[in-house]
């Protein structure tokens, strides 16, 4: 049996919960003030997931970077791995909002998309908007 203290982040109450269980099985949750907390504790105990955000290089854009996010939460433990993967990516301007960077990350069905647009850098001789 393992015991783990988990702070609920579902609402600002931030209940401190004690979860007991083993690997994929939770046998008890205490300290939660509502059922949503127990549900959160369950998923945090088994496999905590987070929405991953980072940025990716852009070539020929008005800005050198574009922000990106995972389309769904990914296992928190693989966050660093994803950031590392994104370091090797180069996008070509113009970049559209929600442009797909990875369609199916690690065959998990999760995608990575941009969260901003980056216009193409104008060549120095052209003027106007």
């Amino acid at each position: 049996m393992m015991e783990k203290i988990i702070t609920c982040t579902v609402c600002p109450q931030g209940c401190r919960m004690t979860v007991t269980g083993e690997e994929l099985h939770v046998s008890g949750v205490t300290g939660n003030k509502c059922p949503r907390g127990a549900e959160y504790a369950q998923s945090e105990f088994v496999c905590p997931v987070r929405t991953a955000t980072s940025s990716v290089r852009v070539e020929g854009g008005v800005r050198p970077l574009v922000s990106v996010r995972s389309s769904r939460p990914i296992p928190a433990a693989r966050m660093a791995e994803l950031v590392e993967l994104l370091r090797g990516i180069r996008l070509e301007a113009p970049v559209a909002m929600h442009q797909v960077v990875f369609e199916n990350l690690w065959n998990s069905g999760v995608g990575v998309v941009t969260t901003a647009e980056v216009a193409k850098r104008r060549s120095p001789q052209t003027t106007g908007c």
Binding site: T9, P12, T51, T53, R57, L65, S67, R69, A76
Partner: protein, 423 residues
């Protein structure tokens, strides 16, 4: 001089300015113009690439740039005009704005009413006075965020963060993921300044130590930061002898609070409020200059952008009514006061007109963290509104609606008192 005429002029194109502009248009103002000093709209949200925005406003978890993009699209659809790369230098009494524009040079904007939404800037080392040398490697957390997220610059390898505000915690995660080592987040108060969610997801997830009731007492290093001395503090926030600890690091990030950017407002002779460091407003977000309104972080520092959007819509609608000449008459006024347990109340005034059914939203913060309690709004010796809460935190803004017809006398007092929690 380049000249622009409009009904409502909005200073600052962050989430506050964008919501105000869209609301002003929807209220019927014909020509609404946003003036923004940056090259693009969105304000501080452009650099907040993490998720956690829009949970109450859109009922969806968005990143900062996505949240901003939704409002930029709305502004475009509503045909709000925009002057970017244009800084407002002065606000004249007769609702003229003197601006410097990259494209047009000196520019004058004449408006029927004005919305101030300039946001805020970060407190720097100067404003908190840490002794020691003056080496490179000391950044405000927001400046470091901009360098990393917008300009692709590396900030440092070993980092200590002073202040447990949200920006600092978010940067702790970001820098860790980018390969830096965050030695500690140091907070002078005995409680967290930012949101619990950020502590869990940004510090606990990466085993970054959080030192509450500690502060940085000295910075060491000649050319570049070489380390910082950290010490525990007592109840009076004075360093405790014998608790000194040295952290070797090349970077110190400061996340020690935000200051509303009100040079324009103060120079225009608009009445300012001492605790919020923003203008004094009534429930329509109207300042002491009747044609000038204020919203967002320039009014009081907000932790959630969702609140900013809601509050800014009030300002935008009121500014449009003012410009159109349909702003209601005020028959009497009441002052909003912070009672027991409350640090400040915004708006600071209520103006009561003919419509007694109108409700006004009071935003406020408690002075210190507390458990179960009761919020009470009192006026003329009666409780006019109350609500039970199970906890309150200075880092999380509370709000309470009051029906204007219930306001008796010339003050309205908001207080929060602890209550026994029944099992």
């Amino acid at each position: 001089m380049f000249h622009v005429q409009c009904d409502v002029a909005v200073v600052g194109g962050g989430p506050a300015g964008l919501s105000a502009a869209v609301a002003a248009k929807k209220q019927g103002a014909q020509r609404v113009c946003i003036i923004e000093r940056d090259k693009s709209l969105g304000g501080i949200l452009q650099q907040c690439i993490h998720a956690g925005f829009g949970m109450t406003y859109f009922r969806q978890e968005l990143t900062g740039p996505e949240y901003a993009a939704r409002f930029i699209t709305l502004a475009r659809e509503q045909e709000v005009s925009v002057l970017t790369d244009t800084m407002v230098l002065r606000l004249e009494e007769d609702k003229r704005l003197i601006c410097a524009s990259g494209e047009h040079g000196l520019t004058e904007v004449c408006a029927g009413s004005i919305v101030l939404s300039m946001g805020c800037r970060e407190r720097t080392r100067g404003s908190i006075r840490i002794p020691g040398t003056r080496p490179a490697g000391i950044y405000t957390a927001g400046a470091a965020q901009r360098l990393m997220n917008c300009q692709n610059k590396t900030v440092g390898r070993r980092v200590v963060i002073l202040g447990s505000g949200d920006i600092g915690m978010i940067m702790a995660r970001r820098m860790t993921l980018e390969g830096a080592q965050v030695c500690a987040v140091v907070e002078i108060m005995p409680y967290l300044a930012g949101l619990t969610r950020n502590r869990v997801q940004c510090l606990d997830d990466f085993d970054i130590p959080l030192l509450l009731a500690h502060t940085v007492t000295k910075i060491v290093g000649r050319e570049r930061v070489e380390g910082v001395w950290v010490q525990r503090v007592d109840e009076k926030r004075a360093p405790v002898e014998g608790t000194e600890h040295f952290f070797e690091c090349d970077t110190l990030l400061l996340s020690v609070g935000l200051i509303p950017e009100n040079e324009l407002t103060a120079a225009a002779g608009i009445e300012m409020a001492p605790i919020t460091n923003g203008p004094v407003v009534n429930q329509h977000m109207q300042t002491s200059n009747p044609g000038v309104f204020a919203c967002g972080n320039v009014l009081h520092v907000n932790d959630l952008v969702d609140h900013v959007s809601a509050e800014s819509e009030i300002a935008g609608r009121a500014a449009a009514r003012y410009a159109l000449g349909t702003f209601g008459k005020t028959l009497r006024e009441a002052a909003c006061e912070a009672g027991k347990g409350v640090r400040y109340v915004c708006p600071q005034r209520l103006c009561i007109g003919e419509d007694l059914e109108e409700t006004a939203m009071l935003y406020f913060r408690v002075g210190a963290p507390m458990g179960a309690g009761e919020i009470k709004v009192e006026s003329g010796g009666h409780v006019v509104a109350s609500r039970r809460i199970s906890r309150a935190n200075p880092g999380e803004m509370e709000k309470m609606a009051v029906r204007l017809g219930d306001v008796a006398g010339d003050t309205v007092t908001v207080s929060v008192e602890p209550r026994e929690e029944k099992q």
